[in-house]
């Protein structure tokens, strides 16, 4: 799979937006999309990555053409997150966006689908760390970066609970 394949990068961004709860605008704003894409591909290999993205894309197309969002939400759960093969990878992609960290895939997955050489837990790049969506999700700065300013901490947080859409 070619990292520059425009289609797959599109699928990746759409998939990432759906599972992270952040918009494509937010995701692209991290500046990490192509690094994450190539990191995932480099660890699990193109074939399985493509399978994940295409599974998602088919759901995405069907949901749009039938104008039924539940096809996507149910499909993400049933066909991706609950899949023994694709689920752990999808979870890892969420965690990657949220914490800039690739976590080693769970042992059962490694046993069944083959342990990958580069599949260890690591922060993909020092400057990806401050771009983790976790901090944005809870309305704080990444500890040690993007400081909000003196005395900002005495004011109410900007974050609030939303009514879930998916």
């Amino acid at each position: 799979m070619d990292i520059d394949t425009p289609d797959l990068m599109e699928y990746f961004l759409n998939f990432s937006a759906a599972v992270t709860g952040f918009s494509r605008f937010d995701l692209l704003g991290t500046g990490q999309a192509s690094l994450y894409f190539s990191t995932i591909e480099g660890i699990i290999g193109g074939e399985i990555f493509r399978e994940l993205l295409q599974t998602f894309h088919e759901l995405y197309v069907r949901a749009n053409s039938e104008n039924d969002a539940s096809i996507l939400t149910e499909g993400i759960t049933d066909e991706i997150l609950m899949s023994g093969k694709l689920g752990p990878i999808a979870s890892n992609i969420i965690k990657l966006w949220y914490s800039a960290t690739w976590y080693q895939l769970p042992d059962p997955w490694r046993e069944k689908f083959g342990a990958r050489q580069n599949d260890t837990s690591f922060v993909v790049s020092p400057y990806a760390y401050p771009e983790g969506l976790l901090w944005q999700a809870i309305g704080v700065n990444p500890p040690g970066a993007k400081a909000p300013g003196y005395a900002s901490w005495q004011y109410p947080p900007s974050v609030r609970l939303t009514s879930p859409k998916n």
Binding site: L81, K95, V123, P126, N141, G144, A147, Q154, N166
Partner: protein, 616 residues
């Protein structure tokens, strides 16, 4: 201009006025004080010194960003030639006690101030007579009044931000007209939420034999962190009680090089381990503001291995060291540092280790004994989502309870101070990324639901820590054993440690108090003290664990005679008249104060006697 880095060749030809082992806050203060009086100084630093430059500091931040486990030493590369204990991650301490000492320190230029939180609390007058007042631990040979002028110097050097009136209420005394150099760091929004619960409780009782009623009141903690200079500040003068009107200017903030020396706190929420804008004091700031830096030589990557003495008069003749080329190789050369005076400022554990490695247990036999630290009881909960608390913002701690720092209950159980953690549950072992993993992997949350889950489980976190006083006890100690060495062949500290019922009683009390606070806040308790934790213990049928405070002290206590202590009231060794042992190791008690401010004050006190010695 920064101090001069030298090589072994250079120092082999020089007899310095003073040779200092360690470039942490104690060593840096001594170096600054003595060099400013024209003395030549050599500092031997076991760790590396890249952090002295802005570029090196930025590298440390980058290392932190890239670290998978963001522990207290994560900005600094693992150095097998001079290991730093890191909450047992590296197994540097050989723990032989009933309970583990645990905790961490940093062997790098600037020492453990490179990862400290920055609380700068004075001890209370009664803490100096712990034995006389309460029948526990040891008394100091000096009083709070004796140390007061040096506290002011330390507060100036570190740049302390705090509310002087609140400290007076907590029991600290100040001379008339004195305020801390900078205004207090504003309390967090979370503090405000907790305050409401605490105000509802109003008061509690403590102690069984003579129960005392204690009124609960939140207050802020003084911190070595840049805030807003206090307009009424007066700096220490030239005599003990003199104050000089002088606007306090935090290093860096108002200078042309703020980036290099430190800005005002910006709320990076990362005090431990590293402040990216250097708003937090660390000892590099003292090293980089030495008036005559050419007087101070720094030999880094040089681990002191042996103190040589003249057996006839006990005077120290030299300190031997091993200097390694780099952290990725165990190759080293040996060298000798010679001087008129010698100062060990390598921290309580390393000072004692070096003396014991040199077979110098002191006449009293107390070298390494009386090891102290503050054991912390943690208690954690989730606040109700009716109001989003926004945890994980601001300096790691801004407020707490200082109302249990004094009282007659100290005859029965130890004093403590409580802190509200703006940084959430991290210390308990469940950090924000652990919650993320659990939500994604176990609960299969994604999208908007995931975001809500994270707000509910992170933004509402409340962790209270209870820092308990541990009195000196000679069986808590550092020793050496030829079985346990590092890759350079230097000793690793062997630790014997236990926590007495005197403290456990307070930890049990603190736990109950925390539940009372949680209840008044409508918060749900999530504390879990796992039996498999090395620091797990039971007290009156309840299980708890504690966390080490990194406030290592007592291993070369000061006292009134050579038979009851290792150093005298000026931190000079009773046995070796040209040797000083500075740092927390000289403290006979630690009260309910983080040790840095007091050991910094002691370093100023000792420096004066060193200057008198060098004149003689």
């Amino acid at each position: 201009m920064i101090i001069k880095s030298v090589d072994c060749q250079t120092i082999s030809n020089i007899v310095y006025d003073v040779v200092i082992v360690g470039s942490g806050v104690a060593g840096a203060i001594v170096a600054k004080q003595l060099s400013e009086q024209g003395k030549t100084v050599l500092i031997l630093e076991a760790g590396t010194s890249e952090g002295l430059t802005l570029e090196g500091y930025q590298n440390n931040i980058e290392t932190f960003y890239g670290a998978l486990n963001k522990n207290s030493n994560s900005p600094y590369p693992l150095n097998p030639n001079a290991l730093s204990p890191t909450d047992n991650t590296y197994g540097y301490f050989q723990e032989k006690g009933v309970l583990p000492l645990s905790g961490s320190y940093t062997r790098i230029v600037g020492g453990t101030t490179r990862h400290w939180e920055g609380k700068t609390i004075r001890m209370l007058p009664e803490d100096f007579k712990l034995r006389t007042n309460y029948g526990h631990g040891l008394d100091w040979p000096i009083s709070y009044d004796d140390l007061m002028p040096y506290y002011r110097k330390a507060e100036y050097e570190i740049g302390v931000a705090g509310d002087t009136e609140e400290q007076k209420e907590a029991g600290a005394e100040f001379i008339d007209g004195y305020v801390l150099p900078m205004k207090k760091l504003p309390p967090s929004f979370l503090d405000g939420i907790v305050r409401k619960g605490i105000d509802q409780i109003e008061e509690v009782t403590i102690g069984k034999e003579n129960p005392e009623t204690i009124k609960l009141k939140l207050s802020t903690f003084p911190q070595g962190r840049n805030s807003i200079p206090h307009p009424d500040y007066q700096r220490p003068g030239y005599t003990d009680d003199q104050l000089i009107k002088d606007n306090f200017i935090p290093e860096g903030v108002a200078s042309v090089h703020p980036v290099e020396y430190g800005e005002r706190c910006q709320g990076n929420a990362n005090c431990v381990p590293i402040c990216p804008v250097q708003a937090k004091y660390d000892a590099r700031r003292t090293l980089s503001t030495i008036a005559f830096p050419e007087k101070v030589h720094l030999l880094s990557q040089a681990v002191a291995t042996q103190v040589d003495i003249n057996p006839e008069n006990g005077r120290v003749t030299a300190i031997n060291y091993k200097q390694y080329k780099n952290i990725s190789s165990s190759e080293y050369t040996v060298g000798t540092a010679r001087g008129r005076l010698f100062v060990l400022a390598a921290n309580a554990v390393e000072n004692a280790k070096l003396m014991l490695a040199s077979n110098l247990p002191s006449t009293s036999g107390m070298m390494g004994c009386n090891l102290m630290d503050h054991p912390y009881l943690l208690s954690w909960a989730l606040l109700p989502t009716t109001k989003i608390a926004g945890t994980l913002r601001g300096p790691q701690v801004t407020s707490g309870l200082s109302t249990f720092r004094k009282g007659d209950f100290r005859k029965e159980q130890c004093a403590f101070a409580m802190s509200i953690h703006n940084d959430g549950w991290g210390w308990s072992g469940t950090g924000a990324t652990d919650i993320l993993q659990d939500a994604v992997d176990k609960k299969h949350k994604y999208g908007a639901e995931l975001r809500n889950e994270l707000i509910t489980r992170i933004s509402q976190q409340l962790l209270l820590d209870f820092m308990c006083e541990l009195p000196a006890n000679s069986s808590n100690r550092v020793t050496v054993d030829p079985q346990y060495k590092d890759q350079l062949g230097n000793y690793r500290p062997v630790i014997h440690y236990n926590v007495p019922d005197y403290c456990k009683k307070t930890m049990a009390y603190a736990r109950k108090l925390s539940l009372q606070i949680f209840e008044s806040l409508g918060a749900k308790d999530y504390s879990h003290y796992d039996k498999s934790d090395p620091a797990y213990f039971e007290y009156e049928n309840e299980g708890y664990f504690f966390r080490g405070g990194n406030h290592f002290a007592g291993t070369h206590v000061m006292g009134t005679t050579k038979n009851n202590s290792v150093v005298d009231r000026n931190l000079r060794s009773w046995d070796h008249e040209n040797l000083y042992l500075v740092g927390g190791g000289s403290m006979p008690s630690i009260g309910s104060s983080n040790t840095t401010l007091t050991l910094a004050a002691l370093s100023f006190l000792a420096s004066e006697q060193m200057l008198r010695d060098l004149k003689a």
